[in-house]
């Protein structure tokens, strides 16, 4: 039974490597984790102004992995 769990864990994983050139679908706006990028941008701007600090929130650029 333990072997079966181990097998499922290793071989039935849904994770896989995505090559840089296979990220076209991930790059689409509707694949973004942000529901409202504009609203989030304003919120971070407001937060930065109020706290006199910025950064540390997230990396932009969506899911395409573009440089």
């Amino acid at each position: 039974m333990r072997f079966l769990y181990f097998f499922c864990l290793i071989f039935l994983s849904a994770c896989s490597n995505v090559s840089p050139w296979e990220r076209g679908t991930l790059a689409k706006p509707h694949m973004s984790l942000e529901l409202s990028p504009l609203q989030n941008s304003l919120r971070f701007h407001q937060y930065g102004s109020r706290e006199a600090a910025s950064g540390g929130v997230e990396v932009g650029g969506g899911g395409c992995g573009c440089y």
């Binding site: 090559s19 840089p20 050139w21 990220r23 992995g65 573009c66």
Partner: protein, 149 residues
């Protein structure tokens, strides 16, 4: 599974056999004796939009001196590339068919990625991404390679 050849500075460039948008064969080995700039791009890559005017400028500035630029398209749908090229015309060779295998051979790690190959077929400069502030360094490299025999 296809083999992956790491392509780094100082190594011989992998040979890619591609087909251009006009159905002309593009064979990297045929560019020996010229300086070859290989740019891997896709329509969804935002940095690629910025790089196209610069690559067009390089073509006009150094084309007659022996620089040849090949833009290897990696779009999964060729229609996406055609729409992109409609908005951002290229003045250099665009190749698409065979691009994925070529990207594996060059071990492309990010989009866009570019490789500058000297007249002997050796990779002399690699770059990932595109930022306007880095163009002068690239131009200096091209001038250097064009001056070599």
């Amino acid at each position: 599974m296809a083999s992956v050849e790491a392509s780094s500075v100082g190594e011989n460039a992998p040979d890619c056999v591609l087909t251009s948008l006009t159905n002309t064969p593009v064979h990297f080995h045929e560019y020996q004796g010229k300086v070859l700039y290989v740019d891997f791009w896709a329509s969804w890559c935002t940095s690629c939009v910025q790089s196209f005017p610069f690559l067009n400028q390089l073509t006009h500035e150094f084309g007659e001196q022996g620089l040849h630029i090949v833009g290897v398209n990696l779009d999964e749908k060729i229609d996406d590339a055609m729409v992109f090229l409609g908005h951002h015309p290229s003045h250099f060779t665009i190749a698409n068919h065979g691009g994925e295998q070529c990207a594996k051979s060059f071990d492309v790690q990010a989009m866009p990625s570019s490789f500058l190959i000297d007249k002997k077929g050796v990779i002399r400069y690699t770059h990932q991404g595109f930022r306007a502030g880095e163009t002068e360094e690239l131009k200096a490299q091209i001038v250097q390679l064009l001056s070599e025999k």
